[in-house]
Amino acid sequence: MADLTPLSAAKQRSLLDTGEVTSVELTQAHLDRITAVDDRVGAFLKVTGERALAQAAAIDKRRAAGESLGPLAGLPVAVKDVLCDEGEIVTCASRMLEHFRAPYDATVIAKLKAADAVLIGRTNMDEFAMGGSTENSAFQPTHNPWDLARSPGGSSGGSAAAVAACEAPLAIGTDTGGSIRQPAALCGVVGMKPTYGRVSRYGLVAFASSLDQVGPFARTVEDVALLYDAIAGHCDRDSTSANLEAKPTAPVVNEPLKGLRVGVVPEHYAEGLDPEVKAAIDAGVERYRDLGAEIVEVHLPHAAHGIATYYVIAPSEASSNLARYDGVHYGHRTDETAMHAELAAERKAAAETGDKAAIKKIDTALVRLYRKSRTEGFGPEVQRRIMLGVYALSEGYADAYYVKALQVRRLIRQDYDQAFEKVDVILGPTTPAPAFKLGELTDDPLSMYLLDLYTVSANLAGLPAISVPCGMSKSGLPIGLQLMAPPLEEERLLRAARMHEDAFGTAPLATL
C-alpha cells in the first residue's frame, strides 16, 4: 500500500470509511513513521503506541459491526503534553511534573475520545507553554522538519513538527500568545487559535488563564475544521467557556465567502519584518484580490503595545497559576534528607560566628522545601516569568504594571472592534521571520518575546486567528499568513483561510 501518512486527515478518513484501510493499519503506519523520523525531529515526549493500537482495533471492530462512529473515528491525533489524559503522565515538559499522572480527563481529551480519535502520543513543548522555540522543554529540543538545525517554533512546537513530519495528520496545541500559529507558520502547516472561551480549558494545565486556548493543527484547512469541530463547544466545568453552540464548520469550509472584505494593517509592516515574509504576505493579499475580495486598510493603533501588555498579563497570571507546584502535594519535591542536612550546616556555621541576625535569616524547613523544590523543578524561563509576574502584581507596582496592562488590553480589543466594523477578516504575517536556528535566541529572551509581535493581540483581544502557509523563503523555509476574525467567527475564518489555500495550495511536504 502507498504511504498513508502524507495524506490529509479527510483523505485518510475516506479510506477508513470505504474500508480500504483499517484504523490499525493507519495507526501502525504513523507509528512506523514516528519510529523512522522522530529520533531526528523529537516531536514526541511519549508515544502511546500500545494504547493507540488498542483504540484503533476497538474502532475497527465497531466499524465492522456497523456501529455509528465519531467524526474522528480511527484517525491518529497527537496531543500537546499539557492536557490531562486520565492515567497518563502529563509533564508540561517540566521536571516539576515529570512523574505526574493525571487522575482525570481534560474536556478536550474526553471530546477526542468521544469522537473516536486514536491518541497516538504526547508532544513536546516549551515548559508550561512558556516560550516560542520548544527549546524550553526540560527533556529535549524539537527540530524543524524543514531544517533540523532550526526550531519548529513554540510553544506547541512538538505538535506542529509532528504534523509537518507526517507523524500525525492531526494534532492539538495550545495558544497563549501565538503558541499554535507561530509554530504552524514555521513548520508550514495550518494552526488555529479559536475564540477565547470556544474550547474548554478544563484539564488544560494553565499558563495564563485569560489568554490560554486549545486549538487544532493539520496540513489542510479542512482538516483543521474537522478537528476544531470535535473539540469546540460549551463546557460546564469551565466558567469562562462561551455558553453558545459551536456549529460544525467542516461541512461548509469549502464554500468561498462572497464579497469578502480583507483588512490589511500598516502597523503590521513594522521594523524588523523580514523582506521575504513581507513579499509572501503581499502575494497573499494579491491572491484575495484576485479572488474578488475587497482589500481595505485598517488601523490598530495600540498594536505596538501588544508585546509589553502581554508580557505583563501572562506572567502575572502564570505566577499565580504555578504557585500550586510547591513540592507539598504532588510533583517534584527536593531531597528532604539533603535539605535538612544543608539547613543544619547553615545553622551550625551561623552559630559559630555568633551572628544572631544571620541565624534568624536562615529559612524554616518549610520555606526551604518550597524554595528548593521550585528552583529544581522549574527551568530558567519559567522562573523568569514567575518573577516577572510576582513583581508586576506586587503592592506598589500592580497599578503601574498589571492594572495598566489591563487598560491597554481593553484598548487593543477596541481597536479590533472598530476595525471589524470595516472588514470581515484581518490579514498579516504570523511571524516577523521564518524559522530561526536552535540556540540562536536562547540567550536573548527579549528577541524571543518579540517573535510574538503579530500573534499576541489575538489572545489579548480573545479573537480567533489562523496561520496558513503562504510561501517559502529562498532558503526553503515555510512562511505563514495570519488571518483574524471577530469573536466566535471561526466559520468565517476557516472559509477565508480555505479560499487562500485553494489559490495557493498546501505547503509541500518536508523531506526527512
Binding site: C92, L97, Y104, A208, S239, T240, R324, S394, E395
Partner: protein
Amino acid sequence: MSDYQTIVGLEVHVQLATKSKLFCGCPNRFGADPNTQVCPVCLGLPGSLPVINAEAVRLAVMTGVALDCTIPAYTKWDRKQYFYPDLPKGYQTSQFDLPITEHGALAIACDEQEPRTIRITRAHLEEDAGKSLHDESGAGGDTVIDLNRAGTPLLEIVSEPDLRSAAEAKAYLTELKLILGPEYLGVSDCNMQEGSLRVDANVNLHIDDPKKLGKSIATPIVEIKNLNSFRAVERAIEYEAQRQWRDWQETGRRIGEAPKQTRGWDDNAGKTIPQREKEESADYRYFPCPDLAPVLNPGLEVERVRLAMPELPAALRLRLVTDHGLSAYDADVLVNQGREVVDYFLTVAAESGDAKLAANWVTQHVLRVMNADGKSLEEVGLPPERLAGMIAKLTAGDLPSPRSREVFELMIADDLDTDAAMAKLGIAAVDESELVAICRELLLANPRVVADVEAGKQQAVGALIGQAKKRNPNADPGRVREICLELIAKGV
C-alpha cells in the same frame, strides 16, 4: 478605671450550609475521613477549574439583606496569594475590593441599655483552606494535611470597630449567630466546635488624654485568634484590654509605633500570647481570578430574596411587645429560642386569647421541660392547641389555678388534652352554690373564726381553706376566702 475605652472590631467567619463546596461538587460535610471529600478542583490539581456554587451566592445575599447591607449589582473574585501546605493552589479564591455585600448594620442590646447599632463593613465570600494536623506529641512527627475542608464556602463578616466592651462583643456574636443559625436564616450551622463559626477580635484602647486636650490616644491594635467559644471571646477581650492598659502605662506606645500584633488566646492560662510576628506586612498580591466570571446580582433577584426573607429576631421582638403586650424580657426569651418556639407561642396566644398568660406558660413551663430534658418542642409532646385549651379553662375559671401545674404535667406525661387530664386527676369545676354551701357550713361550725374576722382579723379565714379543700379538692382557695368574707359581712 474610666481612663480608657475598649475598642473592638470582630471578624466572623461562618461556613455556609450548602450541600456542596464553593467551586466544585464535593460534599460540604464535617467529620468525614481525611481527604475523602475531595476532587481535582478542590485539590487544586493541574488543569482543574472552579465553577461558582449558586447556592453559596444566594446564602451570602440572604445574609447581606438580613444584616441591612447593600448588595452591589457586580461582584468579582480575587486570588489572595500565599504559600501554606493546607492551601493547595497557593492562593485562596476570595473577594478583595468588590465584596458581595457591604455597609450593613446589626442592632445589639446589652445589659438592658438602649440598643446600639454596630456597623458592618462588609461580608464577602471565600473558600476555606484545608487543615494542617501537626504532631503534638513533641516527637517531631510529620505534619499531615486534610483537604476535606479545602474549598468549603465561607462568609467573612467584618464589623467596624464599634463594639465597646467584651459584653457588647458577646451580644453582637449572640445576635449574629441567632440570625444566621438554624433558628432563623439557616445559612450556617454556626457551630463553633465544628468550626462553622470562627471569630477573630481586633482590640485596642482609646485612652483619655492625660493633658485633657480632648483627643484620646489609641494603643496599637492587636488581633486575637484561637477564640473557641463566646466565653473565650469575652475573657480574651477583657484580658487584652487590661494587658494593653498595663502596656501603655509601661511603654506609652501608641498605634503606629508598633506593628499590628497577632496574639493567640490560651483558654487554660486565661491570657493572650503573642504569635510569631510577621517581619514585614504580607503582600497577598490580590488580582482578579481569571478563571471565574464576575457575579451579577441584578436588583430584581436581590428583591426576590428580600421578599422571601423570614421575619428576623429584631422585628419579631418588636411585634411581640407591641402587638401582643409582652414584656421586652419575655419577647427576648421567646425570640432567642428560635422561630419554632415563637410560632408555638403565637398559636397558644391566639387560641387561648390571653397572650400574657401564654407567654408565662411557654417561657416558664414549656421551656423548663425542654431545657430539663434536652427535648425539642416537638419531643415535649404538648401541641399548642392543648396548652391554649388549658389556658382558656384557667381564665374561664373552669380549672382551678392551683391545680393547673398538675394538669400541665399530666397532659405531657400521658399525652392528654386538658379535659382528659382534669378527669384523670378528678378535677372538676366546683359549682358556686356548692362552694357557698360548704363555706356556710364551715362558718357555722367555726364561730370563733367568724368572731375573729368580725374583730378585724380577716386572715383567720385561712384556717377554713384547708377544711374546704378536704370536702372538695377542687375548691379554689381564693374563692373560698372571698365567699367566707362575704358571708360573714352579710352576717352568715
